[in-house]
């Protein structure tokens, strides 16, 4: 039997679950697939409920991790197999090489010397990066990472000279013995290329809401300037297309919960940056539960922001503008309107959707984790259902308590 807890995923839910268990004395292992902790929150410009920049909330969590010897975390790590049962699991974890030592050196200048630019998935294709990179300035661990496959021969020779890198670093496999597992595998933005009637990602100035977060973020590709990807110009009119793939049996058959609030928040980004810009939000229902209702009221009181009831059912490239076609269901009028920038409020798809997991067949048809006390495996955050950051943290705390109950016995 083991008293330790494994947390799969180092986003806001995973970190919270780990800390809640660690701070009451349990040993916790976080296994994170990416090179940094922080997950989707680290990609946001601001997050709910207080519209803090992510560095604010995450920094506190990172401090708690640093100070707590009970938390051990592995980045670039993936669970490859799980065996055993509740109370006694043997977990194999594969850790990819980082090639960068733990000194915490700022390798920015070295990275700039590299010749090749490679696509940057952290910025959702809005910019490129060097193969030696750090996602955001507040990244944790504060340690560069090398995408070795993307190096040219010259780049390799250059990096071989650096004392902060070890190009001979290799993949490792470790084995952990734990009593319980928390799955905090999070979510991915729904793939816009599936939305054939909404441009399928081929209209340059029709972006996703996560791309909008990166455009608005100070650490993002434009330094926080919201501009059109096609020509870098400031948009004078912006449309938000709600339920882009959500609440749709042809795509995500559920409400992604946060997109209405995300668009209202992003409408504020636009209005704060461009006081003359007009924003239109096309919606089926504006779902702003509980205290978010007030946020919606304040946002919609702005004369520059209009909400139209009607789902956009066609997005096309026009002459210099993006054309959206919609029926205003209140007036009963179908029309086409051009906007400088269109934002698709794409929903949350669980990261495990369509993936083979070593945890057995424990996901529902949408990819959300179904697990329980019997297996001693619990879902936290958006692996369980679409949630905002605050509710993810609550869900993670609940999962931590259940994990503790499993390893201790009630």
């Amino acid at each position: 039997m083991s008293n330790s807890i494994l947390v799969v995923g180092g986003g806001f839910s995973g970190i919270t679950a780990a800390l809640e268990a660690a701070e009451v004395g349990y040993e916790v292992f976080i296994v994170e697939k990416g090179p940094y902790l922080g997950g989707r929150v680290a990609q946001l410009n601001k997050y709910f409920p207080k519209l803090c920049p992510p560095s604010c909330g995450l920094e506190i969590q990172f401090q708690r991790i640093k100070k707590n010897p009970n938390v051990k975390f592995f980045t670039l790590a993936e669970v490859t197999s799980v065996s055993g049962s509740a109370g006694n699991y043997t977990v194999k974890v594969k850790i990819k090489p980082r090639y960068v030592g733990p000194a915490g050196a700022d390798l920015h200048e070295l990275a700039q010397e590299l010749s090749a630019d490679v696509p940057n998935p952290f910025e959702f294709g809005l910019s490129n990066r060097k193969a030696l990179y750090m996602d955001v300035p507040f990244a944790f661990p504060y340690r560069y990472v090398l995408d070795r496959d993307k190096l040219t021969r010259d780049d390799e020779n250059l990096l071989a000279k650096s004392i902060y890198l070890d190009l001979n670093d290799t993949e490792r496999e470790i084995e952990l013995t734990v009593g319980s597992i928390v799955l905090a595998t999070g979510w991915k933005p729904y793939d816009v290329t599936n939305l054939s009637n909404l441009g399928a990602g081929s209209v340059a100035d029709c972006i996703s809401n996560m791309q909008m977060e990166r455009l608005a973020a100070a650490s993002g590709p434009t330094g926080g300037q919201i501009v059109r990807p096609s020509d870098g110009k400031a948009p004078k009119s912006v449309a938000f297309v709600q339920c882009a793939g959500s609440r749709d049996q042809n795509h995500l058959n559920y409400c992604s919960y946060i997109c209405c609030m995300a668009s209202l928040k992003q409408a504020r980004y636009v209005r704060e940056q461009y006081p003359d810009a007009k924003v239109t939000i096309f919606y089926i229902d504006l779902r702003t539960p509980e205290r978010y209702q007030k946020f919606a009221q304040v946002t919609l009181a702005d004369d520059g922001i209009t909400a139209v009831k009607g789902k956009v059912a066609a997005v096309e490239q026009g002459a210099g503008q993006v054309l959206v076609t919609v029926e205003d269901a209140v007036r009963g009028a179908k029309y086409q309107q051009g906007f400088d920038l269109v934002v698709l409020a794409t929903g949350m798809q669980p990261s495990l959707a369509g993936e083979k997991t070593p945890f057995g067949a424990m996901v529902d048809e949408d990819g959300f984790v179904i697990a329980g006390a019997e297996q001693g495996i619990f879902a936290a955050g958006c692996a369980k259902k679409p949630l905002d950051v605050m509710k993810s943290a609550q869900s993670a705390t609940g999962a931590a308590l259940k994990a503790i109950q499993t390893v201790r016995g009630r």
Partner: protein, 393 residues
């Protein structure tokens, strides 16, 4: 302004029974109105019909010409995020209209379920059985008469003068009368109280001009089917093949009757002429060629439309008894017609006459019940399209 909604719950149930069973899934996102390639920009359909149906607003739905503008391509249902099947709802409303606007609504009810099929088929079966017995005893002299040279001539048993034309001419008169009353009821239901306010282009046109325009621009060319989208090409070709198949066969039948009656009437006044369309026509007769072209078009259309209907995703669009009844009857007409010819040529009287008897039953079922079946759209959609043109919608 507050408006009190009085839902007609019974109406919602009836609508669900005739093909609108998914209507309550709609959450009014309006994707359908945008997805529809032929829906107008002012008060587009079918989103508004979905909410009227959910609220049981019977009068609004029944007085709405838009259900006839829809050509049922199914694009709205394909894109519907809820599987609410707006296309099926409009089809259901049309099915309901066939029951409502025609006299003798009981015949409309017989179209709703397979359990009434014995009545619909039994009436012509009994009629032609009686005629067969009468002819066998008093006209042809045998139940399976064979003419000189072992040839089978259907006219020997079911002689046009006594058995075919009187029945179908009577039916045609009745059906025309039913359509007259039905069109009057339809237009009356579409008309707002008071004077019709004519808007937009065409406001100065007369009824007749609008009707001619509809036939010229929409019916003959199937333009609306074209507008429904290139991905629905099989539907356009199938429907067009069926339509022109029927046109060919109507011309063939018209010439047969014209030839027969011309010879007959001139014979009464002592003038004897040759009837070029005496049945059975030889394969050298151009009218026979036309008949064969018609039959091939009919079968082509049937295959295309049946395959399409079978391949529909039940999550997106469902076929109901109305749909299959009409397709089934047309299949029966075409198949028994072709087999009647083949069996006649093969000379097996004991098989040929029963097949011709089945053909008569099928043709009777197609024509006698025309106004109440889905094929009623031939007249009612044309009337509604003429009306909306007249209004300027």
């Amino acid at each position: 302004m507050a408006q009190r909604i009085e839902p007609d719950l019974q109406f919602i149930k009836e609508l669900q029974e005739v093909g609108g069973e998914s209507l309550k899934k709609c959450y009014q996102c309006a994707t359908c109105s945008v997805a529809c390639p032929i829906s107008p920009s002012a008060n587009p359909y079918p989103r508004k019909e979905m909410v009227w149906a959910q609220w049981g607003l019977r009068d609004k739905l029944l007085n709405n010409p838009d259900i006839w503008l829809c050509h049922n391509c199914g694009t709205c249902s394909d894109l519907c995020p809820r599987g609410a099947k707006p296309g099926d709802l409009l089809a259901a409303l049309r099915n309901m209209a066939y029951q409502r606007i025609n006299p003798l609504p009981c015949i409309g009810k017989w179209m709703t379920s397979a359990k009434y099929l014995p009545i619909l088929a039994g009436i012509p079966a009994l009629l032609y059985l009686v005629l067969w017995i009468i002819s066998a005893n008093f006209v042809a002299g045998s139940a399976f008469p064979v003419a000189e040279g072992g040839k089978i001539v259907y006219g020997e048993l079911f002689y046009e003068l006594y058995f075919i034309d009187p029945v179908f001419v009577t039916l045609a008169v009745i059906v025309a009368g039913v359509f007259f009353v039905g069109v009057r009821n339809l237009i009356a239901s579409l008309k707002p109280e008071g004077q019709v306010l004519k808007l937009g282009p065409g406001a100065d046109k007369s009824w007749v001009c609008c009707l001619i325009d509809v036939i010229k621009e929409e019916v003959l060319t199937h333009k609306k089917f074209q507008d429904c989208g290139a991905d629905k090409a099989d539907r356009k070709i199938g429907h067009m093949a069926l339509f022109y198949g029927f046109v060919c066969l109507a011309v063939v039948t018209g010439l047969l009757a014209a030839g027969f009656w011309t010879q007959m009437i001139l014979g009464w006044v002592g003038i004897h002429v040759h009837n070029p369309f005496h049945t059975p026509m030889s394969f050298a007769n151009p009218n026979k060629w036309l008949a064969i072209v018609g039959a091939v078009l009919l079968l082509t259309g049937l295959v295309l439309l049946t395959v399409r209907r079978l391949s529909l995703d039940p999550k997106k669009s469902a076929s109901n008894y109305y749909d299959w009844y009409l397709l089934g009857v047309i299949w029966a007409v075409a198949v028994t017609g072709v087999l009647s010819m083949l069996l006649r040529l093969s000379g097996v009287a004991t098989l040929a006459f029963p097949m011709y008897y089945l053909h008569l039953i099928a043709v009777f079922m197609l024509f006698a019940y025309l106004p109440w079946s889905k094929l009623g759209h031939l007249v009612y959609r044309t009337a509604a399209l003429t009306y909306v043109r007249y209004m300027g919608r």
